[in-house]
Symmetry: C2
Subunit: 341 residues, 2 copies
């Protein structure tokens, strides 16, 4: 059933039917109702492609997921982010189109997306230090919002980010207040912007208290459970082992916990852990009482915010480049306690 047929059935022109269905005022309420009913009865639904060809609006948002050629990891937060964004899209009648791109072919990928014209804008995932995609997107004029920020970029752009620096500064302070002095940092890959900021937060807090930064108890890698485990084992085996860990993700923290348990150390007593918690739906941090003390910020919520902001930019509801900085909460759980002496 297409517009032409429906118009035929109703004995109206396509123009009128189209206007009736799209809420234009040039059509009487009576006719509108008649059209609406007929549309429903005959199960008419406008063809999206034709519509977007005619309007020039794709009513779709693109998400480019970079698949690193080196480390083949899919970002575990992806599912929850998408779920959040999806909520917005459903409400606003948008679609979400995903493109998987190897990180060396990004340039071409974005240009293609632009000229193929089936999205109105894109969400940029996983920004790195001075991320080249931002300049690229500005250049080709495709609307976008970044989930995160890009340190070192002097471009103007929209973003939604968690205050990673503040979060980790607070986490560090929290441990320092508990009397910990040797605090290890198990961070994500430090070409990622979030990791850079978290490290900065950690270093700021340490430095403020006059504690020297010791890179021998700092690590940076893709955040798997194994990595957390390995890093913790190594660090705890060395002389002058730390009494606390700050960890960049729950999955890593689980690895650290396993290391403690292997060594017969009690979490929250012998060694404290603070982790960042993205509130992934499949990895809840306990229920009533958090297991880990954590800086907490919902990635699903971020997904909602990012997509919402992008749609509003596209609709011209916002001029200039809006930004949004979300604060992470510090949830005290069972994984921290006073420094042992």
């Amino acid at each position: 059933m297409n517009l032409k047929e429906l118009a035929g059935i109703l004995g109206l022109s396509q123009t009128t039917v189209s206007r009736a269905l799209n809420g234009y005022p040039e059509v009487s309420e009576e006719t509108r109702e008649r059209v609406r009913l007929a549309a429903e009865r005959h199960n008419y639904r406008p063809n999206h492609r034709a519509k977007s060809l005619a309007t020039g609006r794709a009513m779709a948002i693109g998400h480019v997921i970079p698949i690193s050629t080196k480390h083949e990891m899919v970002n575990p937060i992806f599912g929850d982010f998408i779920a959040g964004a999806g909520e917005t899209y459903v409400k606003q009648g948008y679609e979400m189109v995903l493109t998987v791109v190897e990180d060396n072919k990004e340039d071409e990928a974005y240009r293609q997306i632009k000229s193929r014209g089936n999205v109105d804008g894109v969400v940029v995932h996983g920004p790195t230090l001075n991320d080249p995609r931002i300049a690229l997107l500005n250049e080709i004029g495709l609307p976008f919002v970044v989930h995160g920020r890009s340190s070192g970029s002097n471009q103007r752009y929209s973003w939604v980010d968690v205050n990673n620096k503040r979060a980790f500064e607070r986490a560090t302070d929290f441990l320092l207040d508990l009397g910990h002095k040797r605090i290890a940092l198990i961070n994500g890959l430090e070409n990622m912007d979030f990791a850079i900021r978290r490290r900065a937060g950690y270093e700021t807090a340490m430095t403020k208290r006059g504690i020297e930064i010791d890179t021998s108890i700092m690590r940076s890698a893709e955040m798997t459970e194994i990595y957390g485990y390995r890093a913790a084992r190594e660090i705890l085996a060395a002389d002058n082992a730390p009494t606390a860990f700050i960890v960049s993700s729950m999955i890593c923290a689980i690895g650290v916990r396993r290391a403690l348990s292997d060594l017969g150390l009690q979490m929250g007593k012998d060694v404290s852990i603070v982790t960042h918690d993205d509130m992934l739906s499949y990895l809840p941090n306990g229920d009533d009482v958090p297991i880990f003390t954590a800086t907490r910020s919902s990635v699903r919520e971020a997904g909602k915010r990012v997509s919402d902001m992008l749609i509003r930019c596209i609709n011209g509801e916002i001029e200039s480049s809006p930004t949004l900085l979300l604060e992470a909460e510090l949830m005290v759980g069972q994984s921290t306690g006073p420094a042992p002496r």
Copy 2:
């Protein structure tokens, strides 16, 4: 830059340019080359919407991700599955469009997808017992492939699935061979098809050895770490505690491991664990030596297979409803050992 303009520049008709670019034989190689060069030089890329309107092919595959209204969990395998499917799509020039749908509005969602016409087919995720979507999709005539199967459905349909029953039967046998007699099952939600089959495999193996099924050491829920932990604590606290666990996901298994560690029990010695491992990229099961003994099957690979199968169905390269049953490997790791006496 669009076709018309490019044709203008070249002094050719749109027809010729279109044919040259799409490899039709009605154009001389010389002209084709000239067109190709000009296209590249002027950065011409065909508009996808217009193309699909004209051809009737969207060159896109839909993925409907059900967001349960009750349990708000996003399936953790989603990211990796998508990454696998994405590889296929990139190669074949397809796009992936995601629709997030609340599980009670699925009917309307699929109809909408069909009539909006911007996908050529869909992948069905997370099939349940006698999943109504299968009949629906058959009815509305939208090509689809199911990732998994649907027990109890008498519909004809394409699917790609892991042999869950066999996998869990083997896992159970493996434990039985090690002398375990009390084996707990920590399963996923048993309205999901995969969970039903896994349970069947477990029960088959137990029954074959004349061991009675004891539902007091069987659990079924959404597979979180906490759930694994809780279930294990409960089950181990009861009389006649099992000496082994079969677990439906790595995340759960990690919870079970934590329970053991809390109770001072040694994994692989006091209590054995076999888990299913979807080979999620962010949750590798060790590296050289697997941590958990596991039935292993790559969900990313499944993503590739499913999408590939769907595209071939759409292209009419396969008649009837193809199916593919993948076998899981049983990887022996450090989490299993002979039953203690």
